[in-house]
């Protein structure tokens, strides 16, 4: 599992619940080190151990924990670069949903050894979409639910998201778009502000 993904989980736990909780999770998961390096690769067993340990220590179901992780990836200020990269996916939320199928390829453009979940999108009319999610780890669909909910906010769209369970090797996420221009959304300038 790519270090970037492990590192995101670590940062989510640290930024949301504090450094002490992360240290506890790292010990409980028997990582043998105190921090993931974002540019190295790790055995997927470690990722699973971290998710399980966090769920036990925080006393929160895996599903809600993973959903919060998805939301964190888009909405936390420390991950602004990631939000920006996702926003390059499309001008509006529907455009963005269509770009999800390109996500693994976009990821690999940035980092050739980065494995992202495979996403398949089916448009069902009347603003209904079903996204099938597979790869990385069980429950990845819940991460996508949280991420899409936050992205809808970011675009100013009003959408309902729902994890529909597993079918045919993939988790199914339903998106019901009620209003694409519900709110102003967050600003996105194509070119990054000069630093």
């Amino acid at each position: 599992m790519h270090g970037l993904i492990n590192r995101s989980i670590q940062c989510f736990l640290r930024d949301t619940y504090g450094a002490a909780i992360w240290d506890h999770v790292a010990r409980e998961a028997r990582l043998g080190f105190d921090s993931f390096e974002p540019m190295l690769n790790y055995d997927p067993v470690l990722t699973e151990a971290v998710v399980q340990a966090a769920s036990v220590i925080l006393g929160r179901p895996r599903e809600t924990l993973l959903e919060d992780l998805g939301t964190y990836l888009v909405s936390h200020q420390n991950l602004e670069p990631l939000r920006r990269l996702l926003r390059f996916g499309g001008v509006g939320f529907v455009d963005f949903l269509h770009s999800l199928e390109d996500l693994p390829e976009r990821g690999r453009l940035a980092l050739p050894d980065l494995d992202l979940p495979n996403l398949g999108m089916t448009e069902q009319g009347d603003g209904n979409f079903v996204i099938s999610v597979s790869g990385l780890f069980p429950g990845i669909g819940h991460v996508i639910v949280g991420l899409l909910r936050a992205m809808a906010d970011d675009y100013g769209a009003l959408a309902l998201l729902d994890h529909r369970g597993q079918s045919e090797e993939a988790e199914q996420v339903a998106v019901q778009l009620l209003d694409q221009r519900f709110a102003a959304g967050r600003r996105f300038d194509l070119a990054q502000a000069a630093v």
């Binding site: 970037l4 974002p38 540019m39 190295l40 920006r84 390059f88 453009l109 194509l190 070119a191 000069a194």
Partner: protein
């Protein structure tokens, strides 16, 4: 069905196909321009303005301007804004029926700056244009490079920390100065008896100077093997300088036995060492002391006394071992 030879469509369609197009009349005056280009230029009247006042033609010829149809038609063009030279374009100009030129432009390498300064959005680019993908890649690349730079800084910090904690001399595999200090500290703190030898190679500089550093490094590794072979596994053999070594021998306070060890070391080191067919000849001078010379042995003091004895050996003609001579009163109080 016959192949179409000419197309007719309005300026609105052209504006969508090529938002950065520019049309000039035969005199080089602007007759039409795409919406994205219009966004970048000052608001005052553009139609009828001379293209040469707005654009600086960088290639194919700096002396020409866009009005020189013969010079620019069909050629790959490089332009910059006169008012803002950081914003560059490249493009292709084609002659129009009835005179004048149509030029299709795209941004040059300064695209990020142009997009930032003029607040361009995806809608300002043709759907076929890969500019937005390029901006995405540029940002993804900076994020990755940033992570790699952080990783390198962390690794560098870890390397420095590891080196500081290291106890081994990387060239010879012997203990280093830090390991020596730890071992000496341990022995003196617990009042253990031990002998100490300071060894300095003779003629090593000549080997380095005449046969090169590779030969020098080889000699040092062989010396390390000899010192290890001539001492016990409980002894500490450390390389403390370029060609200086210190050996600590726990429970060895008998100067006669210590002298034997020192002579054996010198004998072995005096044998020629071969490097790539060349024979390297060195020897060694040794200064020694033992903890029982001192009422309260201290590492610094003993090292310094061994050093004095070493230089006495050197002065006496190299290839020798000498003991530090303690002043008579300290012997009495020992």
């Amino acid at each position: 069905m016959a192949q179409a030879e000419t197309f007719t469509f309005g300026i609105a369609a052209l504006s969508r196909l090529m938002p950065l197009f520019l049309c000039l009349d035969a005199a080089g005056r602007i007759t039409a321009l795409g919406p994205t280009l219009a966004k970048l230029l000052p608001h005052n009247t553009l139609i009828g303005q001379k293209s040469g006042d707005l654009f600086d033609l960088k290639r194919p010829s700096r002396r020409a301007d866009l009005a020189a149809i013969q010079a620019v038609a069909s050629a790959r063009l490089h332009l910059a804004f006169r008012s803002d030279p950081a914003i560059t374009f490249r493009g292709l100009a084609m002659p129009l029926q009835g005179g004048g030129l149509m030029i299709n432009l795209s941004f040059g390498i300064g695209v990020t700056e142009a997009v930032r300064r003029h607040g361009l959005t995806e809608a300002d680019f043709a759907p076929t244009d890969l500019t937005v993908e390029m901006l995405y890649l540029a940002e993804a690349k900076s994020a990755v490079v940033g992570e790699l730079r952080d990783l390198n800084l962390r690794l560098q910090g870890a390397k420095i920390a590891a080196e500081e904690q290291a106890l081994t001399d990387t060239l010879t595999g012997l203990r280093n100065r830090r390991a020596l200090d730890l071992a000496l500290g341990e022995l003196t703190r617990h009042g253990h008896t031990f002998g100490l030898m300071h060894i300095d190679l003779d003629f090593f500089k000549q080997v380095n100077d005449t046969l090169g550093h590779a030969a020098g490094d080889h000699v040092l590794r062989v010396v390390a093997r000899i010192l290890t072979a001539q001492t016990r596994s409980s002894d500490t053999v450390a390389r403390v300088g370029g060609d200086e070594f210190v050996v600590i021998l726990p429970e060895m306070s008998d100067t006669a036995r210590l002298g034997q060890v020192a002579r054996r070391i010198i004998e072995n080191l005096t044998q020629p060492i071969y490097f790539e067919g060349q024979s390297c000849r060195i020897s060694a001078s040794i200064g020694a002391t033992v903890s029982t010379f001192y009422p309260s042995p201290q590492a610094d003091r003993m090292l310094s006394d061994a050093d004095d004895a070493l230089y006495a050996s050197k002065r006496a003609g190299r290839g020798r071992a000498q003991f530090f001579t303690p002043p008579p009163d300290s012997l009495l109080s020992a």
